[in-house]
Structure formats: C-alpha cells, structure tokens
Symmetry: C2
Amino acid sequence: MRKEILKEPISTEKIPAIIRQSPSVEAMQEQLREYHDHDIAQSFEHLSRAERNLLYTGLDAQSLADIISYMDNPADYIGEIVIDKLADVINEMDADDAADLWEDIDESVQVKLFPMLKPETRRNIRLINSYDEDEIGSLITTNYICIRRSLTIRQAMHELVKQAGEKDNISTLYVVDDRKCFCGAIDLKDLIIARENVALDSIISTAYPYLTDHDKISDSIEAIKDYAEDSLPVLNKDKRIIGIITAQDVVEAVDDEMSEDYAKLAGLSAEEDLSESTKESIKKRLPWLIILLFLGMVVSSVVGAFEGVVAILPVVICFQSLILDMAGNVGTQSLAVTIRVLMDENLSGADKLRLVVKEMKVGFCNGSLLGVMTFLVLGIYIALFKGYAMGTALLISGCVGVSLLVAIIISSLVGTLVPLLFHKINIDPAVASGPLITTVNDLVAVVTYYGLAWLLLIEIFQII
Amino acid sequence: MRKEILKEPISTEKIPAIIRQSPSVEAMQEQLREYHDHDIAQSFEHLSRAERNLLYTGLDAQSLADIISYMDNPADYIGEIVIDKLADVINEMDADDAADLWEDIDESVQVKLFPMLKPETRRNIRLINSYDEDEIGSLITTNYICIRRSLTIRQAMHELVKQAGEKDNISTLYVVDDRKCFCGAIDLKDLIIARENVALDSIISTAYPYLTDHDKISDSIEAIKDYAEDSLPVLNKDKRIIGIITAQDVVEAVDDEMSEDYAKLAGLSAEEDLSESTKESIKKRLPWLIILLFLGMVVSSVVGAFEGVVAILPVVICFQSLILDMAGNVGTQSLAVTIRVLMDENLSGADKLRLVVKEMKVGFCNGSLLGVMTFLVLGIYIALFKGYAMGTALLISGCVGVSLLVAIIISSLVGTLVPLLFHKINIDPAVASGPLITTVNDLVAVVTYYGLAWLLLIEIFQII
C-alpha cells in the first residue's frame, strides 16, 4: 500500500475504516503500519472519541509521538490521553515538538505530568521554553549525534551506531572539542566512505555554519536558507551546542515568516485558516479596520477642506478615486518590495539610499507614463462626454495627469521610507501594511490633486 | 576558523584577502578550505576578473561546482570559465543545479559544451528541462541512493557504501522492486542499527509518500511540507523513480511560492530584489498599473454619473474616500485569507460555502460595528464643523454608515468569490491581487454610496 501525496481523501476514509473494522488490536496495528504517520494524524478528526481511544491504547508511545508531531492542532486531542501514556509519548518526542506540545497542556495537568517525565525531557522543555518564540533557541531539537574530536574513524562509526538507536537526525555528525565547544561537523557520507586509517580531522568540516541561541528567527532565516545545509547547530554564548535546527524546521519557519508578512500586507494582524471561528477572525481583522477608519476620517476632513473647489467645479470629483487608488497601488508596490529587500539582505546606508533613489526613479518613470496616458485619454473623455471645450478638457485632464505624477512619486517615496524607518527603530516593517500606506498616500494625493485643481483651474486659468 | 551565520561582511573581506595575499595556489586552496562554499560564492562580486581566474584554475571541478551552486547569479561568472573546466564543473553538479545553470549558458556555448558532458549529465539536463518550471519534475536531483528490494541487510550496506562515493543525499535509501518500480524507502538510521540477520523488508517503510513528475509545484507544496521528510521520491507514470526532491528544494519552493503570492497581493507581476535595474522594475510594475489606471477610469466615469448629487450636496464627497478605502481594505483581507486557504487545503464544495458564509458573517459584524462608529462620530463632526443641524448631520452620517456596512459586506463577498472563481477555472487565484479587488470594490462602493445619498438625502428627506 504505497501512498501518493495529495490523495488525502483516500486515506482519511481508509484509516477510520481500518480502526472500525479490524478484528483485533494487533490486526489494527498491523494494518496501520501501511500508512504514513501524517495521514493517521489527519484522520483523527474523522474518528469518534471511542475510536481514538483505541489508538491511544493500541499504539505504542513512539508511534503516538510521531503521529502527534504531525497534527495541526494536537491540543484538541492530548487531553484525551491518560496521563502516564502522555508522559511516555512526550518522552519519545523531539525536544522542539515536546516543548510545543507542553504549551498546549492545561496547567493543572502540567503540574502532575512534569515529575513523570524523564530528566532529559524535563531539561529540554525547560530549555526551549526559556527562549522567546522569535528566538532561534525556541526551534531547536536535541535529536542529533554529537562526537568528540579526539576519536578515530572507527570509534566515530561505533559512536554513531550507538547513538543512532536514540537519534533520528544522523546525516550530519556534530563534533565538539575537549571543552565541549563546537568545532565542526562531519557529513555522514564522508564518514561512511572514509578509510579507517585516515584521521577524523581530515573529514571534519570546520567551516560549518552555526547559529546563536538568542538570534532573532526573522533576522536569520535568509542566511539559514542560503547555507542550504540539512541541519545547523545552535550554540549558546559559551560556544556549546544546545541543539540543532533541521531543514524541516527551516521550511516551517520560512513558511511562518512569509505567511505573517503576507497577512500583514493585507492588513490582517495574523494569519487565518479555515478552521478559525468567526469571532477569532473578527478579532484579527477589526483592530486594523478601526485604525484605518479613523485615518480615513482624517482624509475625509482634508477632502472637506476642498469642498469649495468641488462646488465650483464638480467635474474634479470624478477623478479623485482614480488618483487616490493609483497612489495607493504604487505605494503598496514600493512597500512590498522594500519589506522583502529588508528581509533578504543586510543593507548598508548606501544600499538604502540606492533603494530610495531607485524607487523614486521607478515612480517617476511609471508616473510620467501613466500621467501622459491619463492626460490624453481623460482629455478626450471630458471633451466628448462631459461637454467641455477641448482646451478646457485638456486643462482639466492635464491637472489630473500632473497630480497623478506627483502623487505616484510621493507614494513611492512614502512606501519606501516608512518601512525603512520602522526597521531602523526596530519595529517590524511589515506592520506598515498595505492599507496603512494607502491611507497615508490618500492624504498626500488629496492635497496634491485638489490643491493643484484649485490653483491651476480656478485661480490661474479661471475655467469657471 | 569557524563561521557564524550572518557575520557575512567578515568573510567577504577575508576571502578576497586570502586570494590576493596567498604566496602560492596551494596555500590559497589550503586557506580557502576553512571557509564555507556559500561564503566563497558570496565573495565573487568583490573579486576582480583576474582574481576570479585564480579560483577557476586553482580549485578543482567539485569545489567550483559546490561554490557555483550557492551563487545567486551564476550567469554573471560562468562565461569566464574555460569551456573544458566548465564541462567538468557541470558534470560534478547536482542534476537540478546543472539544469538551472544550463539555462544561463549562451546558446553558442551550449552547442559546443553539450558533447563534452558525461552521458549521464546530458541525460539529466535533458530530462529536467523537459518539465515546465511549475512542475515537480523541474526540481528533481538524481543525487540519491537507490537499492533493490531483494538485497540482504549486509548487501544493502555494501551498496550504500559503494554509491555514497558519488551521492550526497544518503539519509534515505529508496527501494525499487524487480521491475524497477518504487516500493518504499529505508531510513539510513534503521539500516545502520539493523542486525544482519533481519530481513531488509522489515525496515522498508512502504507507506513512504511520493510525488508525480507532472504535478504542479504550487498544488503540492503544502502536502510536501506536511509530510516533513528529508527528501521525497518523484515518480513518472510508470512508477519509476526519476529523481528526488530534498528538504532544501522544498525550502526554496516554499519561499518562491510565498514570495510570488506576496508580490501579487501587492500588484507586482513578480518578486523583485535590490539588484534589479530600474528598467526591470518598471517592466514588472507597469502592466498592473496600466490595467488599474483604466479600471480607475471606469470608476471615475461612474462617479461622474453622480455629479448631480455632489452639485446639490457637496458635503457627500468628503466621505467618498472613506467608504472606498474601507471597502478596499476589507476586500483585500478577505482575498488574502481566501488565497491562503485555497493554497493550504483541498476544499470541498461544502468547505467553500462555509468559507463564503463565514466571510460574509465577519463582514456583517465588522461592517455593523464600523458603521455605527461612523454614524456617531461623523454625525457629531458634521454638526460641529460643517454647520448642519444635528438631525440633518445624523441623516448624512447615517447614510455614510449604512453605505459603509453595505460596501463592507459586498467587498467581503467579492474578495472571497473572485479568488474562488479564479481557482475553479484554473487561474492562479493570486492574480486577483489586492489592487484589483480594491478597484472592483470601489465600483460597488461608489454606486452604493452615491445611490443611497441620492435616494435618502435628496429624494426622501430632501435635506437641501
């Protein structure tokens, strides 16, 4: 029974069927062995409480630990497992998964559960939970092979076989010196193909990159990706290895980081998924919307100041939305680019200046092009459909075109400077979300447009 | 010389210094061995052409291949390498890296280079480039260990040691049956700790997930992440393994996929980075902006239809931007949530309905709350600052509040339905970018607001 990824509905039906129809616990165990732990985890929501109980008692702690590690919401089920089994399960889990799960357990249960865990598990949970969730230390697992530098090839191989019984991440062996400080890594492949008479030192890669426990995840993510290793050691300030992060952790961290930026660009305070309740969704979206509502009212009162212009020349209001929208769009583009650049690279002052200059150049070019198009198209439109003479029509559309150009240039600038400024003062630049930038640019665009319309059309050319 | 991630400026200075100051090619090779390939790759841009030549001749093909695999823009440098060395380098690269690099080589060089490659390299490049860049097949590497199911544990270990000389990804061994069809995988750890007298079958995980070569990357990415394996086999329609994708490939693919969605939400046609020229940036942004400009003109002409309302009651224009912006913001939130949900899960018809209903509920609740706030705050504002009687002021602000509620509900609906529709007809839902949804919602909001203002304020209550 091989399983193709993405054919999930098949196994989420088959697994419950096995649990219901198998004649004995042993038969169930045997049949479930044909399925991937991820698929068994996904089937939990299709099982009744009693059926899940069959799994809690019928599966050994290691299997349950593997299955629970694949769950999206383990908190929904761990309360159903009897406490001594739960202790066994947590002992079998990877340190990072155990620490994550620990957070989901009721405090009253935690108190009784903690003394039942192995000392090593207790130490790991305490260690990982001592880090903030945005620190590298919170992602580590202690599931790795560590050997001393002074070993021979044969001893190292022997040590590997000994440790591999307990540990899963064996493709890289981490090497420590006599003071237990990290001094490099060995690719398992090199150990396997090494001749017994060569020195262990010759296969240690001493340039192996490492991370520091208190580093911010968001600051490190690009570098981690760049080094493209299967796993990376995490050191404390004494250069001792406290754990490793695996490529899988990196996949998750990259996904989280990007999802968060994505959500913020859309003006959501956090990522949402389908299972969330309406109330939770409202809570995530409303704060931004209220802020934006009041910012919108500020824009409204500024528009109100130009009521006089509109009363004299009602045609100008037609193009307000055009200029505001375009300013918002351009600003959001610049914002998105700047946020990604800030995340991807360590910028020097000169780089930042180069970015700002480039964004303004792009703004100027796009603005000029769009401005000219607007001038021509709207000029014809106003003359044909609004009943103005061609000269007057072109004056009005020229005013719209120039405002568009100015608004686009300023929006590019705002969309670049605001995230740079936020980053400088250590606020996540993604907080400067699309809607925020749009509202700020609205203000600029309104003043530019109505100001210019008043100056050009009413004061100078007096077309009314 | 151990290297901490993120302290890049140190090594990008040190590596060029080594190349310049080392007394001999051997000394340079020796000293460079202390640095990570990624760091050497990053230092290329700080070297002169002559200094890079020292590397091209001084380093062996395997080292150069590793370094080039870490480059962001290998195309900038491969033209500098003499053709026979380049052939050696490509022969040493992973199949996916070689295929990527191949695309960057001038056609005139390709013609001469191709016959100089090993037959296996030629076959791999042809195979990988036969897939579209959005297909799983385009990500594969042939750098994996494959053994036959009929082997004993001892034979399998022997086979591993033999193949490990050539292959790097050894932590999972893929198993094929007599017809060369994929039939499972062995965790290297299990092989290492297995006793010689057990059957190989007992350590083969037959439930190991796999991918199919023509699957779309964007459709598979979530599933791949969910299975959290170090590598996954990719099969063709005959169930033969054509290659594997590694966790590192997944990191890259997740990052690419999310970056693309992010860029599209911001109305960019593709992701940009700092090194891009102004011209390239303009090219990426202008198409969307031109579309949005013309959509904006449509909105303008609709606003124009309500010029009469504005001429009678100029105060209404103050709040146009408020309603349009809020409608846009809410629509973008719904859009972002829907796109993420569509990417993360395989939705049934019932799920989709549930999503739409939920979005409308969220829209209704947020809209009601924001509508009431607007009604009260603007009522007071209009009475105090615009010189209307309290009754009239509340009528106007009530009209704004009701329009806001209606616009928000409809925007939630549009922001959910448009990406669902796009997904249904097999267009990437991310194409329905934030700016597009904003413009569509503008139209709805304008008609609602001015329509209601005309009906309520002018026709029914005749406040002028």
